[in-house]
């Protein structure tokens, strides 16, 4: 037959059968590390140990049978098992039959385990390694602590071991044996160099490549309702479990426990809920706003949302938020949100641009958002587009039951500013007055019955917590005709440069206000002491040795610039010292260089080489202990 004469061409050259037991052991160990990572960080306790045990048996079988022809029955069995695993994955990820806990990871682990019975060549082992690397990557997404670094180092050690074993096999070495001390020093040096670079270098962020993102439907069912951050019993009517009001007469105790880990391109206030109506010490959402909900599928893209950015923009940035503990299903993100991915069948958005999950967040829930980064600077905010309409909803101007003396106080704070044309200066002036004249404390007694908490804060105690400051500022601004609303959420939190994460704790729970600026939209303003009055988000300067920043404990993301600015002229000192050191080294090098050059006249080295060659040709050699000065006269004598 003509077809029989056609030579089959291989796409890839044949891979050698891997005879090295250590290489196989390292590949298996790498898979073990990956399984451990998934167990520890994916909270999966059944599939990883099962898969590893299966892989252990499979590797042993493959090693023993590596030079034998694979029986067809075995191939059919492995193929059947792979289809079974694929079915398991589909049922688990779509229907959630087995808990839908990391179905992709389970798929990969079981595939590695099943195929381990047919791992004979080096290329097979490489495939197993890369699959276990994918598992480590998956676990890394869930890993938010430093200990995970050990697993990364362990996996890399396994890869290095595999390379070393296969390299020794290629060289024909009979045993897996290396000079221990030099190899240990080299490995340690490599790890230290990599770790040092990781610690010192900033971590750039780039836009994810959209077409490669695959989203799987999730049927995760939440159960239970916990509100640990709010100790008082509150009745939530929303399925997300969110509270519908902020009552100033009560305040929950805030501990230091971690609430969220956030990977973010910029530090920001993490918006949660917005309130527009104040009545007798309680912020609520007005009826009209409370009913305006839009429902989206899990992925809310910018087309669905429309253009949420107003005014000049600096760009956008990504946040990946991992919720550490169960909490109400308020989707915290920097505002305004451009797009959002939340692992649920649907999310809702209210009229303020706040998003809600269909149920409370479960511990471990991870979601991501892309937010606009508006250019909020004093100069830009002073430019108002006054012809643009203010929010039609009059609730933003309702001062609630603000007392006359509070109104008088507000007027005095804003004295000299036109609330319409000089809105920025007026707002900042009021915020700074509050920051300067009132003290921040969490130990605030509840307002006595019959007294408005704002009045009690402004004129009696003169101290309070963030909600007091924000409420007072909001109502006072509203009394002067400036549309304002209250926002609750979390302050930026503490940045850990090694993990490149922001750690948000209970104590970061915060409230601030948003003031409407024509042409800019709702601009965050924070009247609480120790916070910047204009709560603007800025891209951090991550390329300026951000890793070093955490040497100084009080520095957080974005703070280095401020800290350096606070030093004044002294901030130039490190740079100047570095410059002096570089110049000194350069001068030293320049001083040494001519000496070397002067030691030898032009062409001298060539003459010596020529002379040497002639001597060799004549059969004369320079004795090992002979110096050139001894050798040359001897040569001349001859």
């Amino acid at each position: 037959m003509a077809a029989a004469g056609v030579r089959r061409r291989r796409l890839l050259p044949a891979s050698p059968v891997e005879d090295s037991g250590p290489a196989r052991a390292f590949a298996l160990a790498a898979f073990g590390v990956a399984c451990l990572a998934i167990t520890l960080y994916g909270q999966a306790f059944v599939v990883p140990p099962l898969a590893f045990a299966l892989a252990l048996a499979g590797h042993r079988f493959s090693h023993l049978q590596r030079h034998r022809r694979r029986p067809r029955k075995l191939q059919v069995l492995i193929a059947g098992m792979m289809f079974l695993v694929l079915g398991y994955f589909l049922f688990d990820s779509i229907l959630g039959l087995f808990g839908a806990n990391l179905p992709q990871a389970n798929l990969v682990m079981l595939l590695v385990a099943v195929t381990s019975f047919d791992l004979t060549t080096r290329r097979n082992l490489y495939s197993s390694l890369w699959m276990s690397l994918a598992l480590v990557y998956l676990a890394a997404v869930f890993a938010w602590d430093l200990q995970f670094g050990l697993l990364v180092v362990l996996w890399l050690t396994c890869l290095a071991g595999f390379w070393a074993a296969s390299n020794l096999r290629r060289l024909g070495a009979p045993r897996f044996e290396l000079p221990r001390r030099p190899v240990a020093i080299a490995l340690l040096a490599g790890l230290l160099a990599g770790g040092g670079l990781f610690w010192l270098l900033p971590q750039p962020s780039a836009s994810p490549s959209g077409p490669l993102v695959i989203s799987l439907p999730s049927s995760v069912q939440f159960s239970g309702l916990e509100q640990p951050a709010i100790p008082l019993v509150q009745f939530a009517t929303d399925p997300s479990g969110k509270s519908g009001n902020v009552d100033l007469r009560f305040r929950g105790r805030l501990g230091n426990a971690i609430v969220m880990y956030i990977r973010t391109g910029a530090p920001a206030y993490w918006r949660g809920l917005t309130f527009d109506q104040y009545r007798a010490g309680t912020w609520v959402v007005s009826g009209s706003a409370a009913r305006r909900f839009r429902t989206f599928h899990a992925y809310v893209d910018s087309h669905d949302l429309g253009n949420t950015a107003q005014g000049p923009q600096l760009g956008d940035f990504v946040q990946t938020i991992r919720v550490v503990r169960a909490m109400p299903g308020v989707i915290y993100a920097a505002g305004p949100v451009e797009s959002l991915y939340y692992p649920a069948t649907e999310v809702r958005e209210d009229g303020f641009g706040d998003f809600y999950a269909p149920a409370p967040h479960r511990a471990g829930t991870t979601y991501s958002a892309v937010s606009h980064l508006p250019d909020y600077t004093p100069s830009s905010l002073r430019l108002l587009t006054l012809e643009l309409p203010a929010p039609a909803d009059g609730t933003y101007l309702d001062p609630g039951n603000l007392s006359p003396r509070a109104r008088t106080l507000a007027r005095s704070y804003l004295d000299g500013y036109n609330p319409a044309s000089e809105r920025f200066d007026a707002v900042i002036a009021l915020a700074r007055h509050l920051q300067r004249d009132y003290r921040y404390t969490l130990a605030t007694p509840p307002a006595p019955a019959g007294i408005d908490p704002v009045d009690y804060f402004l004129f009696d105690t003169r101290y309070g917590y963030c909600e007091m400051f924000a409420t007072a500022a909001a109502l006072m601004l509203r009394s002067q005709g400036i549309p304002t609303r209250l926002v609750t959420g979390y302050a930026p939190g503490e940045y850990n440069s090694t993990l490149d994460q922001t750690i948000v704790r209970e104590s970061d729970a915060h409230a601030w206000i948003e003031v409407f600026f024509p042409g800019h939209g709702w601009v965050p303003v924070d009247p609480t002491p120790s916070f910047p009055a204009l709560a603007a988000t800025r891209f951090p300067d991550r390329w300026a040795a951000s890793g070093l920043a955490h040497l100084i404990p009080h520095l957080a993301l974005g703070a280095p610039t401020a800290a350096l600015a606070g030093l004044g002229a002294a901030a130039l000192l490190p740079g100047l010292l570095a410059l002096v050191a570089i110049v000194a080294l350069g001068l030293l090098w320049l001083r040494r260089r001519p000496r070397t050059a002067r030691a030898r006249s032009p062409g001298e080295s060539e003459l010596i080489r020529l002379y040497d060659r002639l001597q060799r040709r004549l059969g004369r050699r320079r004795a090992p202990p002979e110096t050139p000065n001894e050798y040359l006269p001897r040569g001349c004598r001859r």
Binding site: V136, Y137, A140, V141, A143, F148, G149, V152, V153, L156, A160, W163, A164, S166, N167, L168, R170, L171, G172, A173, P174, R175, F176, E177, L178, P179, R181, P182, V183, A186, L187, A189, G190, L191, L192, A193, G194, G195, G196, L197, F198, L201, Q203, P204, S205, A206, S207, P208, S209, R263, T264, G265, V318, T320, T498, L499, D500, Q501
Partner: protein, 377 residues
């Protein structure tokens, strides 16, 4: 030193992981990528260090004689000046030690040493070269006649992970010369008789001073050349040529038709030489355009065998055919300078004959031989 494909793979992996770190903001991926890069840098330095301190070489450690090897026929006394560790004949199997050593006394590795020997090659490697050195013995054989030379001995070293590789050629001299097989073409004599003859000849009973040589056990004291001994610092004896000693000239062609016929010619020549030497004679070998056998080697079995082992790959040198009264020519074709030289000797009255390997007729007394060895009865 050059990078391997594996380095490219490692750096690509690091770059991919780093890119994923940048797009997913999973900080561990940055750590992974940078650790890989750090490891690659450390391995580069390791490979340089490893290559700088490694040495390699080859050594002949043992010879396993093939069946029918003439080594069993050589009298024991002859082995006093035989090449070490043992004379190597064609068809023998040799054991060669491939050695790796470190220059500064600290353990290094991994390393591999490989060497080609004609069609075959030897190679071995290890992960660890201890301070005392490392070696492996490999067997090679059956070997052909001629110099046992390592072609392109290469010392390869690198880092443990195989990211970098250094290949260095190690200069290597000939390990040995595989001598041609030989057998007595004359009637068998008792070994004892042969030994006694060789002993007699060694002392030199003639009257013509042939030369001086180093003192050997058994030499009479009166033969010691005291003045020369004092000058040299070691005992030297006069050597006399016995009267009537047979001097046999072996005339060989320069360009044999094939390697097989060259081997057969060398065997025949060695056999003629062996018969002459054990009868107390001297052998002179001449081939047109090639360096002749040196005079001191003309009495030495090993010297003759070495010349024949190297023939025809010898240094070019023009020389006259020896003027002797007894000559044998060896050729695989009719005509040529070898036979012309033989005819000239014949015209001067010398006893001449020839060995013809292959087909053809000569106008001289000749014996014919095929390519098989030993010669058929």
């Amino acid at each position: 030193m050059r990078p391997t494909w594996r380095l490219l793979g490692a750096l690509t992996l690091a770059a991919v992981v780093y890119f994923y770190g940048a797009t997913s903001e999973v900080a561990w991926l940055f750590l992974f990528g940078l650790l890989l890069a750090g490891l690659a840098a450390a391995m580069y330095l390791y490979a340089r260090w490893n290559a700088a301190g490694l040495e390699g070489g080859l050594r002949l450690v043992e010879v396993v004689s093939a069946e029918g090897s003439p080594v069993a026929e050589v009298p024991e006394r002859e082995f006093a000046d035989a090449p070490l560790p043992a004379p190597v004949f064609e068809r023998d199997t040799v054991r060669i030690e491939l050695q790796l050593s470190v220059a500064d006394g600290s353990g290094r590795g991994p390393a591999r040493i490989s060497s080609g020997f004609g069609a075959g090659s030897l190679e071995t490697g290890t992960g660890l070269v201890p301070a005392s050195g490392w070696s492996a013995v490999r067997e090679l054989g059956p070997i052909p006649r001629g110099p046992l030379a390592a072609e392109g001995t290469v010392l390869e070293s690198g880092d443990p992970l195989g990211l970098f590789r250094t290949r260095r050629r190690v200069p290597q001299e000939d390990l040995a010369v595989a001598f041609p097989l030989f057998a007595s073409l004359a009637d068998n004599r008792l070994v004892r008789e042969v030994e006694s003859q060789l002993t007699v000849v060694r002392s030199g009973h003639g009257t013509d001073l042939y030369g001086v040589r180093e003192y050997r056990s058994g030499d009479p004291l009166r033969r010691i050349h005291w003045r020369n001994s004092a000058r040299r610092g070691e005992l030297v004896v006069r050597e006399f040529e016995p009267p009537g000693q047979r001097i046999l000239a072996l005339l060989l062609d320069r360009d044999p038709a094939s390697p097989e016929s060259a081997d057969q010619i060398a065997r025949l020549a060695a056999s003629e030489a062996w018969d002459c030497l054990r009868a107390g004679g001297r052998v002179l070998i001449w081939a047109p355009g090639l360096e002749p056998l040196s005079a001191p080697a003309s009495r030495s079995l090993w010297g003759v065998l070495e010349w024949l082992g190297r023939w025809p790959r010898l240094t070019a040198e023009d020389s006259e055919p020896p003027r002797v009264m007894d000559a044998v020519a060896f050729t695989d074709h009719v005509g040529g300078p070898c036979l012309e030289a033989l005819r000239e000797l014949r015209e001067h009255g010398a006893a001449t004959r020839a060995w013809l390997v292959g087909e053809g007729e000569l106008d001289l007394p000749f014996s014919r031989a095929g390519l098989e060895w030993p010669l058929p009865e």
